[in-house]
């Protein structure tokens, strides 16, 4: 295994996970940087495949545009709202000094001279700086709803265990800018149930900023999904950079492998010493299923599930 993420200690840690798999629940992130490479298609298909033999928890960490619940037929159950801290203001104690407004880096606290300050809730990120700056305790911790967490059991055919696949997802309120807070809350909720499951898959959003960083904090393995085009290559290099900074062992999956030029990705794989674990072809059948929002069942997904099981989860060949 040729990952060169850093000092010996890190390498040893990686080796440990692979060779002592039964002792460690594996959190696997499916990411990619570029939008539309097939993260959700692959996440749901892989979760489904793994759930034949194991109990799987799939977290859709794309809280802005979650798609997994469209593809995976599940029940839809509202779990709870996600809250962010929103200061609540008590004019009685206020000395109209304006300190709250001065420290607010989001321009969420509006202070006009000689008037009481007020807060624009959509602009507030809940950092609490204003509470700390207020000399007269005129601000207290309140809250605002910024999203909702849902979960659903996968509807298995009769005879199959319905508890084998649980999907947890969230919808951030449109207009909010607190993506990572919603991602964190979703992961925290999922973490409370993790002991009941054998594997955890995390389907991240597109991109490389806090939306994806929060989704991948503390995962054991990342599957970077790309496509064999110059755009795919460009964005793959960026996500690999992020995964290196986060010290997350990574494998590459090339989706739509039969279009474009696979050399582009093989080059990146070699240059970064990140193994290419699976190729999934661009087939009309897969496209059709994707367009209908149907789960993809394909031999390459079976292969992928098998490879992951054998290489990382201590399982045996099917």
């Amino acid at each position: 295994m040729a990952w060169e993420w850093g000092e010996e200690e890190e390498d040893n840690k990686i080796v440990c996970i692979i060779f002592n798999p039964g002792k460690h629940l594996m959190k696997i992130a499916i990411t990619g940087g570029k939008g539309g490479t097939g993260k959700s298609t692959i996440s749901t298909a892989l979760a489904m495949e793994l759930s034949h033999e194991h109990k799987v928890l799939l977290i859709d960490a794309d809280v802005e545009c979650p798609d997994d619940h469209i593809i995976l037929p599940t029940t839809r159950e509202k779990v709870k709202n996600v809250h962010a801290m929103l200061p609540s203001f008590n004019p009685e104690n206020c000395s109209k000094c304006g300190s709250c407004s001065e420290v607010c880096r989001e321009n969420a606290v509006v202070f006009i001279k000689d008037k009481y300050p007020f807060i624009i809730s959509r602009q507030c990120n809940g950092c609490g700086a204003c509470l700390l700056a207020c000399p007269s305790s005129a601000l207290k911790e309140g809250q605002q709803v910024i999203g909702t967490i849902y979960q659903g059991q996968h509807q298995q055919p009769p005879g199959r265990n319905s508890n084998n696949l649980l999907l947890v997802w969230s919808e951030m309120d449109v207009g909010c800018e607190s993506t990572s807070l919603v991602v964190n809350a979703t992961r925290e909720y999922a973490a409370s149930m993790v002991s009941e499951y054998d594997h955890v898959l995390i389907d991240t959003a597109a991109g490389t900023h806090c939306n994806v960083i929060s989704a991948m904090m503390g995962v054991d393995l990342a599957l970077a999904v790309t496509e064999p085009t110059p755009l795919g290559k460009h964005d793959l290099k960026l996500i690999l950079q992020l995964l290196k900074i986060m010290k997350i062992p990574t494998q590459i999956i090339v989706n739509k492998s039969t279009i474009g030029d696979s050399n582009l990705i093989e080059e990146v794989s070699r240059d970064n010493s990140v193994p290419l674990i699976q190729e999934i072809p661009y087939e009309r059948e897969i496209l059709k299923k994707h367009s209908r929002g149907q789960l993809v069942i394909h031999k390459t997904i079976e292969e992928l599930a098998n490879t992951i099981t054998v290489k990382f989860l201590g399982g045996t060949h099917k």
């Binding site: 989001e106 969420a108 509006v110 624009i120 959509r122 207009g175």
Partner: protein, 129 residues
């Protein structure tokens, strides 16, 4: 009555601005019996953080204006103006002076957050839900 207007320059001859938060200037005048007095121009420097509309609304509040003329006003800026009880009016393409005159004649439409800011006719207007 003190009126503020989002502008693309610093004089009454400047074009009224289509945007509020990132307009280059805010011009404040005292409208007295149809006359424009005490013309004041406030530069509105661009910022990379969000909340440009909120900042601009604060300037308008600081000047104690009672009304604002602008093109599009974002939802956050709107909230500030509402809290400060400042009425907002839809600008028309033209100079600052032209818009102020139209306002004094009561010919500008009030902007409310849900009011469509120009909807296509023929190809389909907007009236959803």
């Amino acid at each position: 009555m003190k009126i503020a207007i989002a502008a693309s320059g610093e004089t009454l001859d400047s074009q009224a601005s289509q945007v509020f938060g990132r307009s280059s200037h805010l011009i404040v005048v005292d409208l007295v019996d149809g006359d424009l007095k005490d013309v004041k121009s406030i530069p509105n420097p661009p910022i990379t953080e969000g909340g440009a509309g909120i900042k601009s609304a604060r300037f308008v509040g600081d000047e104690k204006a009672e009304a604002l003329i602008s093109g599009s006003v974002g939802p956050n800026a709107f909230e500030v103006l509402k809290q400060l009880e400042i009425k907002t009016y839809q600008m028309v393409p033209g100079t600052v002076e032209q818009n102020l005159t139209l306002l004094s004649q009561g010919k500008l439409e009030e902007l409310t957050p849900s009011a469509p800011q120009g909807r296509g006719m023929g190809m389909g207007g907007r009236g959803r839900r």
